[in-house]
Assembly symmetry: C2
């Protein structure tokens, strides 16, 4: 089903022949029309242009074709085409630190004058002194703790604005690009491709749910109601007579590891048929997804491109992928090599 030649071949071969007998203006107009036809044709034929012509792309396209073929043996009704995506390291870059950690560090610094006790207390001390190693060793749990403590005591609407403002200016320490430009182009294409085939994609992340919602729709096309993440407790109350939802400094839910299937059931209420992750924090999500009946797709993005992104797996404190690599073959999970399978990593700069 995938074209053998990129679209310029169609142009080169077909256009001159077809338009030989036409007058010049007509030829121009017809050329434009033909170009359009072939562009559309090419677009329809290459749904994942940043994916190389390897087995990974083939397996994904095969799965989607199988579950969407009317009356086929693997057909899945559109309502049940739920796909779940981890965020950090799967949809966007998580190195050299989780983006939410960078956000939290900036918040700690901004709020520190009012919290002298932070100077000697973990993980705040590490945050203020920039001891990333100490922070990273705590994994997503440490990050979430930091976020809980520094992001409570305001309404959800106020927090939404804080996140949006930060996202509009904060930049990746290595590339200098906005964090929302550090998303993976092949995964953006995959989201579009799945949506075009009636899938409903969800984010299922260990990151904070209200940290992702303010920009997930703009960046990924995933609306807030399709974002599942870790959360702190909230309380509804009138503040100065104004109905408000206030963020409390108390953990509500950790959406990581075994928490991911729990979060999926809690929010979606049905088992996904496709799951995409990149670390052992996604293991149970892939396990839960792929152990259902019928066609299932489990995908692990393998960070093996030190030149264009970062190379890390079994021994990384961030996004460790160890058990997943061991068990992927026998579980029929697809391991996508960023180096081999992705022609492009990040979107072209605007």
């Amino acid at each position: 089903m995938t074209p053998k030649y990129p679209c310029f071949v169609h142009f080169g071969v077909t256009l001159p022949t077809t338009n030989r007998k036409l007058s010049s203006p007509m030829r121009t107009r017809h050329s434009v029309a033909w170009a359009l036809v072939f562009l559309l044709h090419a677009a329809a034929q290459t749904p994942l242009p940043s994916w190389g012509e390897g087995p990974s792309r083939k397996a994904i396209v095969h799965f989607v074709e199988e579950v969407t073929r009317d009356n086929g043996p693997q057909f899945v009704p559109p309502a049940e085409r739920i796909a779940v995506f981890d965020n950090d390291g799967t949809l966007w870059c998580e190195q050299p630190m989780y983006v939410q950690l960078a956000f939290a560090l900036d918040r700690v610094k901004a709020l520190a004058p009012g919290h002298p006790e932070w100077k000697t207390k973990a993980p705040f001390h590490a945050a203020l002194t920039g001891d990333l190693k100490a922070l990273a060793s705590g994994g997503e749990h440490a990050l979430i703790e930091l976020v809980m403590a520094t992001h409570a005591g305001m309404t959800t609407e106020e927090f939404n604005i804080v996140v949006k403002d930060w996202m509009a200016t904060a930049r990746h320490p290595k590339t200098g690009r906005l964090y929302t430009e550090m998303v993976y182009q092949p995964m953006l294409e995959l989201l579009t491709y799945l949506r075009e085939h009636g899938f409903k994609p969800y984010i299922v992340s260990g990151g904070g749910i209200e940290f992702m919602r303010p920009w997930s729709e703009r960046v990924y096309g995933i609306p807030p109601e399709q974002v599942i993440g870790s959360s702190i407790k909230t309380k509804y109350e009138l503040l100065g007579g104004k109905p408000s939802i206030v963020r409390l400094p108390e953990l509500n839910f950790i959406d990581d590891k075994s928490g991911k299937p729990v979060g999926i059931q809690q929010y979606i209420g049905r088992r996904p048929i496709a799951a995409f992750g990149n670390s052992d924090g996604d293991f149970q999500m892939l396990e839960w997804t792929t152990s259902g009946s019928g066609a299932r797709l489990g995908v692990l993005v393998h960070h093996d491109d030190a030149v264009r992104e970062f190379a890390y797996d079994r021994h990384s404190s961030i996004g460790r992928l160890d058990r997943g690599l061991d068990e992927a073959p026998k579980r029929n999970w697809l391991v996508v090599s960023m180096k081999e399978d992705w022609n492009q990593i990040f979107p072209i700069s605007k």
Copy 2:
């Protein structure tokens, strides 16, 4: 925008005139065609046929027209057209007891032989002896407690089957109809009408989330991921090597009163623009919804029809509506009279 005459008037007046000169078979065929045209016309013109031509229907239609009019001052993009519905007493009948209470009572009886301690312990004692007054006085909280205790210790998939099986046979004590036929016809039409105008309807109920999900799509057209309710905690684990989500006997979240805006934020992540309830348990949901900027709709269904359904409000232990009645006028909430505004209460029996 609403037609002055019901559709049979169109048939009576138009058909004989139009078909006068046609031969008999042709006339029959044309009559069918015309009938179809007028049926479609009538359907397009009367989106809420079971609603009387009173101010309630008018206010709802006006709101929907305003927020969906392109370039209008009150226009709301489709993605933000979130509508939230209470379930018990708003979408289906909650008298003489919550349906989930009837379900819980049947479960208590079925499981009682294995729990001798229930004979003397509240609320189980009341459940086993059929002391509905004692149970009802505890409100939704007592119901939820009962459900927690009797419905844990199995997987979510097992519980789904238990609920489906019960729903297929259990009948309302007064009408003898299936509970899923004890839904309000005008509200089914409202759900359809809102969906046709790009709204995404959610259930936001004090009832158990996994008690509603197995049938909400079939009965209301509301998929599991758009059902928000009270919940117990769950745990992901391997049972005999099989990935499972097990229901634990521990309360997770009460989606009632001030819990409703919290649940809405947690699951949807944006403020609804329309809210429909029937009791003071829905007060905060309506308050949160209608205190946002732009056009907003808050609706309370008033149970004032003792003949066709049940009449209760300020002094009822189930579905009490007291503060809501007092404050509806000054908050511009619509109070829908089931007696005056609804031409029909339940769907016609199949």
